[in-house]
């Protein structure tokens, strides 16, 4: 699987969180395994960040929920990694790795979780409900399935404007795949033949609901045919496979192939959110192959193939911790929004704001 990292998709020039550099000890492997190692470092950064967020949450320092992507970093990072400037990314709740790889600064994350007034959501929305639509990172609404058609719309607009060489990638869970909104969006994407990749991560649970109460088809990937998508299955615990399958899907839509559906299999290695102990997941499920921790599997590959030495791995780990600490410390010092200073206007056109009460 690792040979897939040889694919030479263009590297993004600007990374907001400091991008992994590949000056590693593993010279012999450096060029072909660049992508794998870069992806691994985003995964490591994500895991480090999310573990830290969890501990802040446990310490009562985060208001609202914390939702992490533990066990899904390999799929997610591949979603962000192959997108270029001008591409559209519609991440969901477990896509920190993808968001970072796409270019979301760590400070966006910590500011949003910690309620800084200076963050992209300014305390008006929290946790994973964030984005930078001007940078083509769409800001998800909670309502699952609703971001598919929005992504389709961004791509239709680009086509109408005459833009070239753009793609969109939208993420979804197997739970969200069961909404009407998702179905409408998929169908429309195929009708319009927009360059869209939909990456569905079946982590075997929607909150506490297991697959057998979610759908009754043999395999979710079979739905691709029904929609007019091309469908691919993926072992989401295998980073090499994720890079290969998702990278190829992105390449295919860029080359004008029909929309692509990738269905990845993993286990959610956390509660639905950090308030949830996931005690409903039976031990037997945790022993399944799809329950492997993709980060550990990737690290083992690095060690087995001696892609970088232990010292380098240690350095990367330290670097991730430092970046996370810095982003948290910065956000913690920033001002919180204040109710009586807030601009309570939901329209950009202030003159058209309704005035339910008299000015006095």
């Amino acid at each position: 699987m690792l040979q897939t990292a040889q694919r030479t998709a263009k590297s993004k020039t600007k990374k907001a969180a400091s991008a992994p550099s590949h000056k590693t000890g593993a010279d012999k492997a450096a060029p072909p395994h660049d992508r794998f190692l870069e992806a691994f470092r985003w995964m490591l950064l994500t895991r480090t960040l999310e573990e830290k967020l969890v501990s802040l949450y446990r310490g009562g320092l985060i208001t609202g929920g914390v939702y992490i992507g533990k066990g899904q970093e390999a799929v997610s990072v591949a979603c962000g990694l192959f997108l270029q400037k001008g591409d559209i990314f519609a991440p969901l709740i477990r896509d920190q790795a993808g968001r970072s790889a796409f270019g979301e600064p760590l400070l966006d994350v910590t500011r949003t979780y910690l309620g800084s007034r200076l963050g992209p959501m300014r305390g008006r929305d929290g946790n994973i409900h964030r984005g930078h639509p001007r940078n083509n990172e769409l800001a998800m609404v909670s309502h699952l399935g609703a971001m598919i058609s929005v992504t389709v719309g961004t791509l239709m607009a680009k086509r109408l404007k005459g833009d070239k060489n753009f793609v969109g990638l939208a993420c979804i869970g197997e739970g969200g795949m069961q909404t009407g909104s998702f179905h409408e969006g998929m169908n429309l994407a195929a009708v319009e033949q927009v360059p869209l990749v939909v990456v569905a991560t079946n982590n075997h649970y929607a909150y506490s609901t297991p697959n057998d109460r979610e759908f009754a088809c043999r395999d979710l990937v079979d739905r691709a045919i029904g929609y007019g998508f091309e469908g691919y299955s993926l072992d989401g615990t295998d980073l090499g496979a994720c890079l290969d399958v998702i990278g190829s899907a992105v390449k295919r839509v860029r080359a004008g192939r029909p929309p692509q559906l990738v269905v990845a299999s993993v286990l959610r290695l956390s509660g639905h959110g950090e308030h949830d102990d996931a005690s409903y997941v039976p031990e037997e499920v945790k022993r399944q192959p799809f329950a492997r921790d993709c980060l550990k599997v990737a690290e083992q590959t690095i060690v087995d193939l001696n892609l970088v030495d232990a010292e380098t791995l240690g350095k990367w780990r330290k670097d991730a911790i430092a970046q996370v600490e810095e982003a948290i410390a910065a956000a913690q010092q920033e001002p919180a929004p204040e109710g009586d200073k807030e601009d309570w206007c939901a329209l950009s056109n202030r003159g058209l704001a309704d005035q339910p009460e008299s000015p006095e």
């Binding site: 309502h143 607009a157 969006g185 008299s358």
Partner: protein, 322 residues
């Protein structure tokens, strides 16, 4: 020359497509040679190739798509085949379009056209007036044009506005209203219009209920009453000042709307006038809405279900006696 309310809507869209390359029209059956269930886009697909696009029966995805396109700088006009079916798109309109500027600082300039309101024989699912639902949610502007001129200028204005606009066009007015010509410019958005001056009682209304209110006012004129009729034009923002100024002249207020009676535009007007202009009132303000049942099919039932000139006049008379 004579131009109908429906033709005004078509003309406005033709002008928008002509003047602004960011504009496109998206909806069921709007394209091809068909031009929409009511022909509001007739001929536009031919005149503007690739910019009047047929969509599948997917209201949620149609609005979602328009929202995505707006994020990329386009100015989509969505045609719902009937206002009633916008219930399927409620999530995209309220939770996506309505929240986006507040959350992210990026406004969503979409216009959603809702062929609204009752016509004879249309029944529970092709007759609804949904302005009150949309007005309830933040982040949306809700237009309810009552004249041919407003149908034209307000639609042009709707597309120019950076925020999402719900444009409620009344199906009963499509063919019933005619004007000699289309104006260049209308009143500013958010400004109500005094459609008829009077000093005995104020009727506040909008959309097709303006016709009933004006007819009632004429009937009452024969009995010597001078009724002032205020056309809200947009139910959100609501021009409270113009309403209050009118009530200051007349001392009596009746609000007439076609949506269901629990809450809604008429209740909002009365709430504002009572809280801000209690001292102006000589009698308790009243309102008339559709009945609190689904909208009936049969013409006899339908014409009783919605407010009409007769019961508007009766209610006004009652209020004038107080």
């Amino acid at each position: 020359m004579s131009i109908t309310y429906l033709e005004a809507i078509r003309e406005a869209q033709a002008k928008l497509l002509r003047d602004d390359e960011r504009v496109f029209i998206y909806g069921q059956d709007v394209g091809g040679t068909f031009g929409g269930a009511f022909k509001a886009t007739k001929g536009l697909a031919k005149e503007f190739p690739g910019r009047v696009l047929n969509a599948p029966i997917s209201e949620d995805a149609i609005v979602g798509t328009a929202i995505g396109a707006a994020m990329q700088g386009m100015r989509p006009i969505v045609e719902m085949q009937f206002a009633d079916f916008s219930s399927i798109a409620l999530n995209q309109i309220l939770n996506q379009a309505g929240t986006h500027y507040w959350r992210t600082n990026m406004p969503i300039p979409i216009t959603v056209r809702l062929p609204s309101g009752g016509t004879k024989g249309s029944g529970p699912f092709h007759s609804q007036s949904m302005e009150s639902i949309y007005a309830h949610y933040p982040g949306l502007i809700v237009m309810t044009p009552a004249t041919v001129e407003d149908a034209y200028t307000m639609l042009i204005e709707a597309v120019a506005i950076d925020d999402p606009v719900i444009y409620c066009e009344h199906k009963y007015l499509y063919y019933h209203l005619k004007a000699d010509q289309l104006p260049e410019k209308g009143l500013p958005t958010g400004r109500a219009r005094i459609a008829r001056e009077g000093r005995d009682l104020t009727i506040v209304s909008y959309s097709a209920m303006m016709q009933e209110s004006l007819a009632a006012a004429e009937e009452l004129e024969r009995d010597g009453f001078e009724i002032e009729v205020v056309d809200l034009r947009t139910v959100k923002p609501l021009d409270t000042d113009t309403v209050l100024a009118s009530v200051a002249r007349t001392g009596r207020l009746l609000c007439v709307g076609e949506s269901f009676p629990w809450g809604g535009a008429t209740a909002e007007v009365i709430a504002r006038v009572t809280s801000q202009g209690f001292h102006l009132l000589d009698a308790a303000p009243q309102r008339l809405n559709a009945k609190d049942t689904p909208i009936p099919y049969h013409p006899n039932l339908w014409s009783t279900h919605r407010p009409n000139a007769k019961n508007v006049a009766a209610k006004a008379r009652q209020l004038l006696r107080e």
